[in-house]
């Protein structure tokens, strides 16, 4: 039986959650395994720093992509005249996964910071102070991570309830973290090296989407604050299989009736 992606997400939510989580953990597992095997390549320190930082940025971009992705998917389903997934609420499961994606981003960021402190500067206070004084990219990186800290700390249901509408305002720090993360990457790259720019472009695009929504609220019909949208109870209960249900009694022929 083929299940529509929207229904799959809704009805097999736990499974989908675990699949996404496992996929996001693959880079960490790869890195851990390579470290264990002492196969991190010619510059193991750089590899650890680069890969953890890169995946923190990618996961952050994924978390930011969820709001526009839900909108784009429901629009796509309308265009395709798909029976399911046309409503924003059909993709609510994506919004529910965002917390996990954000926390994975935080975990990669924390690993990145720990690798830097433990292996790169070796908890040397003087070296760290020099780095802050001399290197703007370190400041940008610190700002990004500092912005993620309160977000991770308030990611529980309890914190969400307590903070109420302030929770959402607080979590707009994600935009700041993403910008600071991009700046960090650009500033640490050599002139002429284009490596950071695909990430920067992606994140700028995702932020531009928010800016457009803010400046032109009519850009989309209907409101989309990136929250779960209440589902309308479905009006039509579709039968399991129409061919089997339609066992009708034979209709009496009009001729016979007229005779009778």
């Amino acid at each position: 039986m083929s299940l529509h992606p929207a229904l799959l997400l809704k009805e097999r939510y736990r499974l989908c959650w675990w699949v996404v989580f496992a996929l996001l953990c693959v880079p960490a597992a790869t890195l851990g395994w390579a470290a264990w095997q002492e196969a991190l390549g010619p510059n193991p320190l750089e590899r650890l720093e680069r890969d953890t930082g890169r995946w923190a940025l990618i996961c952050l971009a994924l978390a930011l992509a969820i709001t526009p992705a839900r909108r784009a998917l429901s629009f796509l389903m309308v265009v395709l005249r798909s029976p399911d997934g046309k409503r924003l609420s059909d993709w609510n499961a994506l919004v529910r996964m965002r917390r996990m994606v954000g926390l994975v981003a935080f975990a990669y960021g924390a690993a990145h910071v720990l690798v830097y402190l433990e292996l790169d500067v070796g908890w040397d206070g003087a070296a760290l102070a020099d780095a802050f004084r001399e290197k703007p990219y370190i400041l940008a990186g610190l700002a990004a991570f500092a912005a993620l800290l309160p977000l991770a700390a308030t990611s529980t249901d309890f914190a969400m309830r307590k903070l109420g509408r302030y929770w959402k305002r607080l979590h707009r720090l994600t935009y700041f973290a993403a910008c600071a993360g991009c700046l960090h990457f650009v500033w640490l790259s050599k002139p002429g090296v284009l490596e950071p720019y695909p990430y920067v472009a992606l994140i700028l695009l995702l932020l531009a989407y928010r800016v457009i929504l803010r400046l032109r609220p009519g850009f989309h019909p209907g409101r989309d604050g990136g929250d779960e949208v209440p589902e309308r109870p479905s009006q039509v209960k579709r039968p399991e299989s129409e061919e089997l249900v339609t066992v009708r009694p034979p209709e009496p022929s009009p001729e016979k009736e007229s005779i009778a």
Partner: protein
């Protein structure tokens, strides 16, 4: 009577034997450091870097800005035949077959630390000709104050040269005193064999007390000049890359740690030494000069 002249000819090792022994030593060192892995290598001082590391982590923008991609791309380098010109302010301009330079001038074995400006370093056994021999053979005139080194320019072969972000060819320069210094080597081989393509085959400069970008790869011409040449990196980012570019842990860089460095294959940094540990040999070149101001 000096120590050297007391050696009788019969005591001198035949060159082939010497080479074989050197190769064995390099291989032994490679194996030794390989066996120890990152944790073990930390304790040993200046163990020779593994050949696989040195040949798979290369800054060679003529091919790519991706250090790990260079090895595969550089397979098309075609180091043979290779013209090496010596010209400019010299009495006897010369054109050499790069492969004959070692034979013509005689080679030496040198194990040098290489410190990249990006904050990593390696220890590499080179074979090469002290550059001074080649310069002296050409006879620098009194106006030869600087030496300009030029790399190849052929975008058909060097894919990275199709990029308009850089001004090709690669150019580096030394003051004549630096070029004539006995540590300055025109390398013709590494690890007992020829120079790997990605490491700058067939001849490259090695100036161990300067950041690696001064040690230009695959040299095509050596030009003696009166004016100070403007290097590839100075043109690209003059505020970051100076002409002298001596390894100096005291001069910070906005991106990389210059106080500390990580050896290839290792996880933790070690302190960077002034002049990359060659201060005793070269510091006199700069006596009385304010290197901070000149960089």
């Amino acid at each position: 009577m000096t120590e050297l002249s007391r050696i009788v000819p019969s005591e001198i090792t035949a060159e082939a034997l010497y080479r074989g022994r050197r190769l064995f030593l390099a291989k032994a060192a490679t194996l030794l450091s390989a066996g120890m892995g990152p944790a073990g290598a930390m304790a040993s001082e200046d163990a020779i870097s593994r050949y696989e590391e040195v040949t798979n982590y290369n800054n060679f923008y003529e091919y790519s800005t991706d250090k790990k991609a260079v090895a595969a791309l550089a397979e098309n380098l075609q180091p043979n035949p290779w013209r090496l010109e010596v010209k400019g302010e010299v009495e006897r301009p010369r054109v050499y077959d790069a492969h004959a330079v070692g034979r013509d001038f005689g080679t030496e074995e040198r194990i040098y630390r290489l410190r990249c400006v990006e904050g990593w370093s390696a220890v590499i056994p080179w074979t090469g000709v002290p550059l001074a021999r080649i310069l002296k053979a050409a006879g620098p005139t009194s106006r030869a104050r600087y030496v300009r080194f030029v790399g190849p320019h052929d975008p058909a072969r060097f894919y990275g040269q199709r990029s308009r972000r850089h001004l090709w060819p690669y150019v580096e320069g030394l003051a004549i005193e630096e070029a004539m210094h006995p540590l300055t080597l025109l390398a013709t081989g590494m690890y007992g064999g020829p120079i790997a393509n990605q490491c700058g085959a067939p001849v490259r400069l090695v100036v161990p007390w300067k950041y690696g970008y001064k040690s230009i790869k695959s040299v095509v011409s050596i030009v003696l000049e009166e004016a100070r040449p403007e290097s590839f990196w100075m043109r690209l980012s003059p505020e970051e890359y100076g002409f002298y570019a001596n390894v100096d842990p005291e001069v910070p860089h906005p991106r990389w740690s210059q106080a500390r460095e990580v050896r290839l294959g290792e996880m933790r940094r070690r302190p960077t030494l002034p002049f990359n540990g060659y201060a005793e040999q070269v510091a006199h070149l700069y006596r009385g000069l304010d290197l901070r101001a000149m960089r």
